[in-house]
């Protein structure tokens, strides 16, 4: 059933994340060797590396694609405490096999500790970026002008009071913006390792609506299922074991 291919990367150290783009035709990998590589799916089914560059001065933990409506844009987060947004620039030499250029559009340096995860918000919220750092602060940045990727403003800082490891946006259009934050804090006494925050449009603040006390093991990843018109949300939590949690909004 599975056709397995080995993709020879020339990453010099551990790879921490792979991420497909919206259409599943491109892929980004990031590594502790501080580089990011972009792969394109060829017509023959092979993956070809079209770009590789040193993106940070620390391990690059995660890479994520923006919705293609905003262009070919990725965001990376790193041990060096920064988050960078990159845009592909196809020059005259591009396309036919030549490496493409990725330009750093912005770099957020607000964090005092390693940034563990970065995720673009669902498209209908605009061009928003959520980051979470090892000292438990979730930051939400917005690019007010989607055509100008170099101008971002820090919209919100949410103190989670627990070391964060991963973050996920809820893609539902029907409900208030929502994010789930996972923590890799190893101590069981630190409470629920997965917190849910919801945006309250009345006072323009993010409020904690839920701390999932069933999750006591360190969480390594969280992901909301695409909503697709459901009235409830599905959240997958990767910790020692996998939990899939259904969240039904009140009323």
């Amino acid at each position: 059933m599975f056709v397995t291919r080995h993709i020879p990367t020339d990453h010099q150290d551990l790879i921490h994340d792979v991420s497909y783009d919206f259409h599943g035709r491109r892929m980004a990998t990031c590594s502790t060797d501080q580089t990011v590589q972009i792969w394109d799916l060829q017509d023959n089914g092979e993956w070809k590396c079209t770009a590789s560059w040193k993106s940070h001065s620390g391990s690059v933990w995660r890479v994520t694609w923006a919705h293609p409506e905003f262009g070919q844009v990725i965001a990376t987060c790193s041990f060096d405490r920064t988050v960078s947004v990159w845009e592909e620039c196809v020059g005259d030499t591009g396309r036919d096999g030549v490496q493409s250029n990725w330009i750093r559009k912005t770099s957020h340096v607000d964090s005092r500790t390693s940034i563990m995860d970065v995720k673009f918000a669902p498209k209908h919220l605009g061009l928003l970026l959520a980051t979470c750092s090892a000292d438990g602060i979730v930051r939400i940045y917005e690019a007010p002008d989607v055509m100008n990727l170099s101008q971002w403003s820090l919209q919100h800082e949410i103190m989670c009071k627990i070391s964060c490891s991963c973050i996920s946006w809820n893609a539902s259009r029907m409900h208030a913006p929502m994010i789930a934050v996972g923590s890799d804090d190893p101590s069981p006494s630190a409470g629920g390792k997965c917190q849910i925050y919801e945006f309250n449009s009345a006072n323009r603040k993010w409020n904690k609506v839920e701390s999932l006390s069933v999750v006591t093991d360190p969480v390594h990843d969280v992901a909301f299922a695409p909503n697709l018109g459901r009235s409830h949300h599905l959240l997958a939590i990767a910790s020692k074991d996998l939990k899939i949690i259904s969240l039904t909004p009140y009323g």
Partner: protein
């Protein structure tokens, strides 16, 4: 998305557990700029702008021994930027004051002030001079001409390698290696950093190795004899201090000038992640000194006023905390996984059977990942059905029955039997019942359907689907707990030939239930079922029970009664309703409130995540659609459109937008539909016609191949904006990649 399967096992090197020392610290009551240990590690001096103290190093704490910042006049001589013990006499100290003076301190002095004497040779800090002082003669022994730059750090070569050599780090990023006996020019000089260099350190055991660090945020390891770069460690901030770890050839400790408050110990062979990290300091660390010949203990001072003793067993191991695996699933169902290469460590383990335990420090450096992509994945992940259905569904242009039937067949072909049955059910519900015809047609369809899946029975890999087939083909559907077949069996109920009715109800029972229907007819179209009454997914009880319950409940239900008695036995009601439904079909009545159950069905599919079915049914239903709040319908449409976008099914998505009855959706392709064209000769915006410029009166964008104006499909290269008839350009591109106008551009058509 990335996943951490099992936390990688710790890569500690051998930490002596019997090490009696522990980490501890003391507040020096002032930001510390520099520190040093004496020869036998019994005393430590810390100095800063407002602090100058000597502590005894005890087992579990530091105890204050001297405070040198005493006296009436606390001038700048007491404000220290660097400090060092004498290598010969434990009571002699030298400090560099922030005013450029070098002060010698003698702890043996009987007076309270231990200041011995002051060299005032440097006029400034960073005055660009390099001197050697002789503290016996109390004068400058030699001055070296370093040129115009300032020196940031000097370190004597370990005396067992070269007694006379020392290295200086200059602000231009050059390493200067001097011989003490030669004052005019350095023995050797090479550029190590692009920008100021702040520190350097000779390797204690490798005579040729020299480490440097600078503002360019890298630590570099050089073969200083050749001026050759051996290793490079990129860090996250300007490097303030570096110190080789004793007893470990490849390990070096560093601290930063800004941003990073931790002290990192790197293995230069794996330069990207610290081997160990010490995060006690709350501000930048300023001094690092290893305990002599002990690779597990070191001392550090910081701007946060603290002096710490660090031991390795308390270190943070960043490499242990990293996520060793990454995985993502694409919309097409491909999976890519990056995983840690474990083969090397396994090999090592094999060897270790015969030899001694491998050094864990060696394991640390073997970190590589494999990337695997799994294509053509499991059916579970494949979205082929989605694409096929999206492409093949007919949503307009045919009669309702035909569309339902066609879509049902499409669903069947994609093994989506529940959806297929739902389509058929829709058709049956809303078709004006010319019952006999209907029956025949569905029958024929059913035989078609049954043929296809039967072929699959032989294939061993689809046992599930065949099982489902059997269930759907099986009209009785008793005790069936699969929701989909429940739905389908309801639909089936209406279209089953009377023979099977007998199986279901028995002749007499059918007669008995007729009165129920008769009553219904009187109520007419006003009759509405309470919502909970008809749950399409509800399990059908053993049909033979139905009439019994009817008898119990007689006289037959009226609408009022149903609403008035919500507490009625739920099951029995459902059965009755089904019963009614079946009966009505028989006598060609279609005016029945199906809308509720259709609504629930649509919602059911949406809740299951199958928004495709929901939206397509909504479109096909047209005016028959149940009343569902527009926001919810909006959401369904947009979700489906986004899914279509993921598969680049633009045509399908546009058709859908056109067909949508929702204002907000059908507006979507009314937005930004204007293309502005300018004349390629005079740059005037073309407003009225797209091919003739009113200003310069020329035909624009004529075909570059045939030089005629293009009407119809015009393609052009976005790079040079030349183009022409699509067939001409296509032809041209088979011959040449360059622009047909001869502008020299290598055209890009995508």
């Amino acid at each position: 998305m990335s996943v951490m399967h099992n936390v990688s096992k710790a890569v500690h090197d051998r930490v002596s557990t019997n090490n009696p020392h522990n980490s501890y610290g003391i507040n020096c009551e002032g930001a510390v700029n520099a520190m040093d240990l004496n020869r036998d590690v019994s005393r430590v001096v810390v100095a800063g702008r407002n602090v100058f103290k000597i502590y005894n190093v005890e087992d579990d704490e530091f105890t204050e021994k001297f405070n040198l910042r005493v006296g009436r006049k606390l001038n700048l001589d007491f404000s220290v930027s660097d400090v060092a013990w004498s290598h010969i006499d434990d009571n002699i100290l030298a400090s560099a004051a922030t005013n450029g003076k070098v002060v010698i301190w003698d702890l043996n002095k009987p007076s309270k002030s231990k200041q011995d004497f002051i060299f005032q040779e440097h006029t400034l800090v960073l005055d660009g001079s390099l001197k050697i002082f002789d503290i016996r003669l109390k004068r400058v022994a030699s001055t070296f001409s370093v040129g115009s730059t300032s020196i940031r750090d000097v370190q004597f070569c370990p005396s067992n390698f070269n007694y006379f050599a020392f290295a200086a780090a200059d602000e231009g990023g050059n390493v200067q290696i001097w011989d003490m006996r030669r004052l005019t020019s350095p023995e050797k000089q090479f550029t190590a950093h692009g920008g100021p260099m702040f520190c350097l350190d000779w390797h204690p055991s490798e005579p040729k190795w020299l480490a440097t660090g600078g503002r360019d945020r890298t630590i570099k390891i050089w073969d200083h004899a050749l001026g050759k770069l051996l290793y490079s460690v990129p860090t996250i901030a300007s490097v303030a201090r570096i110190k080789w770890r004793p007893e470990r050839k490849y390990h070096i400790a560093s601290c930063s000038l800004v941003i990073d408050f931790s002290i990192n110990v790197w293995d230069v062979r794996r330069p990207y992640i610290p081997f160990a990290s010490f995060e006690e300091h709350k501000n930048v660390a300023t001094g690092i000194v290893w305990k002599k010949d002990d690779g597990h203990t070191f001392y550090s001072s910081g701007k946060d006023n603290f002096l710490y003793q660090h031991v390795f067993k308390d270190a943070i191991r960043p490499a242990d905390k990293v996520v060793p695996d990454g995985l993502d699933v694409s919309v097409i169902g491909h999976v890519t996984q990056a995983t840690k290469d474990k083969t090397k460590s396994l090999e090592k383990k094999k060897y270790s059977m015969f030899s001694k335990q491998p050094d864990k420090g060696d394991q640390f450096i073997d970190a590589k990942s494999f990337v695997f992509s799994y294509t053509n994945c499991h059916q579970l992940l494949s979205m082929e059905w989605f694409v096929n259905c999206a492409k093949q569904y007919i949503l307009h242009g045919r009669s309702f029955e035909e569309m339902c039937e066609h879509n049902a067949q499409v669903s069947d072909q994609n093994d989506r039997f529940q959806v297929a049955q739902s389509w058929r059910m829709l058709k049956a519900i809303y078709t004006k019942p010319t019952v006999t015809k209907n029956l025949l047609r569905t029958e024929s369809v059913m035989s078609n359907v049954s043929e296809k899946p039967k072929d699959k029975v032989n294939q061993p890999d689809t046992p599930k689907s065949t099982e489902k087939d059997k269930q759907t083909m099986d009209a009785t559907s008793e005790d069936d707990d699969m929701t989909d077949t429940d739905l389908s069996s309801i639909a089936r109920g209406q279209i089953n030939p009377p023979v099977e009715w007998d199986i279901l109800f028995g002749g007499a029972d059918v007669e008995q239930s007729f009165p129920t229907f008769g009553h219904m007819e009187n109520i007419g179209p006003d009759f509405k079922l309470p919502k909970e009454a008809f749950v399409p997914r509800h399990e059908i009880k053993d049909p033979s029970e139905v009439p019994k319950q009817n008898n119990q409940d007689s006289p037959p239900l009226s609408a009022n009664e149903t609403e008035a008695n919500p507490a009625n036995n739920h099951n029995s009601k459902v059965n009755e309703d089904i019963n009614m439904l079946l009966l009505m079909k028989e006598v060609e009545i279609s005016e029945f409130a199906f809308t509720d159950c259709v609504e629930q069905m649509l919602k059911y599919f949406a809740e299951e995540g199958d928004v495709q079915t929901t939206v397509c049914m909504l479109v096909v239903l047209g005016e028959r659609r149940p009343k569902i709040p527009e926001e919810i319908q909006d959401d369904w449409f947009i979700s489906y459109l986004e899914l279509l976008a993921r598969f680049k099914l633009w045509t399908v998505s546009n058709t859908l937008i056109n067909l949508s009855h929702l204002g907000s959706i059908s507006m979507m392709n009314h937005q930004s539909t204007t293309i502005n064209v300018t004349c390629n000769q005079c740059n005037r915006v073309l407003t009225k016609v797209g091919w003739l410029c009113h200003k310069c009166k020329s035909v624009i964008n004529s075909c570059a191949v045939c030089h005629l104006p293009v009407k119809g499909l015009f393609v052009w290269c976005q790079g040079c904006s030349h183009g022409g008839h699509i067939n001409h350009i296509q032809e041209w591109l088979t011959i040449s990649k360059q622009c047909p106008t001869g502008c020299g551009h290598i055209c890009e058509y995508t």
